[in-house]
């Protein structure tokens, strides 16, 4: 009867996609009786609501992984024996997401446990006191939390910041541009850093291949998130 089950897994995905038009970033049947749905942190509550309304699932647990730059949260539900995992990623700089304990009361304890061990603020959670850690545990110490860190070695960080912000691996120093002008050359070479259009084109390419995310680059600050 695996064909019927497969249909049911696909039905679950179809329903979530239908109820949340365009919002689940990626849905897949990872193996028999396992469904994975990626949602943004802002859409998590709506996804849980859609699942509750359609299937009245059993909440299994919440798991967290600290991947250095972000924390991945996986909310596992059982829908008639099929495990549906809603996955979302929150940046460690904010480490914040809304609680679902008001619509899934069974999540109250595990949210609290994850909050204490990883330092996440589940906004709106009803319990303020510690659950798994001693009451006098230092607030800043998170037993399973790692420092904010990306994959680039320290030696490459400056070069990557220069490359992504200007298309040039070197910092553009005033003495160099002045020296060029003095020698009768254009202030900047004909690189992308001299043309807004070319620089945007290059930066769009970087975003498209996902290097900015892999490297942990913050476009607004023009810096790596861990520098």
């Amino acid at each position: 009867m695996s064909g019927d089950k497969k249909m049911t897994e696909v039905e679950i995905i179809n329903l979530l996609v239908k109820k949340m038009t365009g919002k689940p970033a990626k849905c897949s049947v990872t193996r028999e009786r396992r469904v994975s749905v990626e949602v943004s942190a802002a859409d998590l509550r709506e996804s849980v609501g859609a699942l509750l309304e359609a299937y009245q699932p059993r909440f299994i647990t919440l798991a967290a992984i600290d991947n250095g730059l972000d924390i991945e949260l996986m909310y596992h539900f059982s829908v008639g024996g099929i495990v549906v995992t809603l996955r979302t990623i929150i940046p460690k700089e904010t480490s914040q997401i809304g609680t679902i304990s008001d619509i899934v009361p069974a999540a109250e304890f595990i949210e609290k446990e994850v909050a204490e061990l990883f330092g996440i603020n589940f906004e709106g959670h009803p319990r303020n006191t510690n659950l798994v850690l001693p009451d006098d545990w230092p607030a800043k110490e998170k037993p399973l939390g790692k420092p904010l860190a990306g994959r680039l070695p320290p030696q490459a960080r400056g070069e990557v910041e220069n490359l992504l912000s200007s298309g040039c691996a070197q910092i553009i120093l005033e003495y160099a541009t002045e020296g060029r002008e003095k020698a009768g050359l254009p202030k900047l070479p004909s690189m992308a850093c001299a043309s807004e259009e070319s620089l945007k084109e290059f930066q769009d390419l970087i975003k498209r291949i996902g290097f900015d995310k892999r490297a942990g680059y913050n476009w607004e600050k023009g810096k790596l998130r861990y520098r």
Binding site: C168, G179, R180, M191
Partner: protein
Amino acid sequence: MMGKHAFFLGCTIPLRLTSVEIAARRVFSQLNVEFLDLEGYTCCPEPVTLGIIDKELWVTAAARNLALAERAGADLVVLCSGCYETLIEASEILKHEDETRKKVNEQLASIGSKYEGKIKVKHFIEFLHEDIGLGRIKEAVTTPIAVNLAIHYGCHLSREVGGDDPWRKPKMMRELVEATGAKVNDYGLEKLCCGFPISQFDREFSLQQRLLPKLRSIEGTAAEAIVFACPACTGQFENGQDMLIGSGVELTEYPCIHIMELLALSFGVPPAELNLDLHSSAVKEFAECFWE
């Protein structure tokens, strides 16, 4: 008849060693070779660190640069040895690895670009030697540089595709240096890396185990200066000499001159027109010395 050519200057030459760009423009102008400036290019990207930490970034950004030249209908003449390594290797990958080329072109399509592998990538040393020829270069020499020099070829200059002799381009460089009237002094450690790549991880090792043995060997010759084809190697020698001397090592401090600067001087370009004061070693003084 020579086709269209575009300069690939890289980042370091136009923004750190402008004297090399100035010299190259003067040399090619005197040889009546016209070059396009590649509009909107980016860092090649650098092969040693970026090429290792993210292959997709490296090959895609390199492909965008190659596509700019292809769109302009020009072969690339690369002025920086590190950029040459990236661009020649990326062009070979894109020529021979169908899956990679397909994937890269899908990404390039998003910015309205495409690379078909129609252009040639040449190191400026092989362009000077093969396309211009030693004869024309010798004819252009009006101020022979009659001095003893040592050559640091640099590892990237040995990069060959298709299993060719890794000493093909270094031999060309030697002949070009000799064409200026200089005498090349062998020192036995030409094949040793200058230590620049490892300096990013272990500065002391790069100075003591790479640069210092080379400098000691050169001290055993009559060389008065060292010639380079790579801006990163030039920087490693110039900064490294200062650091070694600063740490108490007794050492001859050599002027570190780029071959393009040497050619420009031999073609009669006055040192004052080359911005040689951008060097931290005594290149300017060295050039003025034999110019008089």
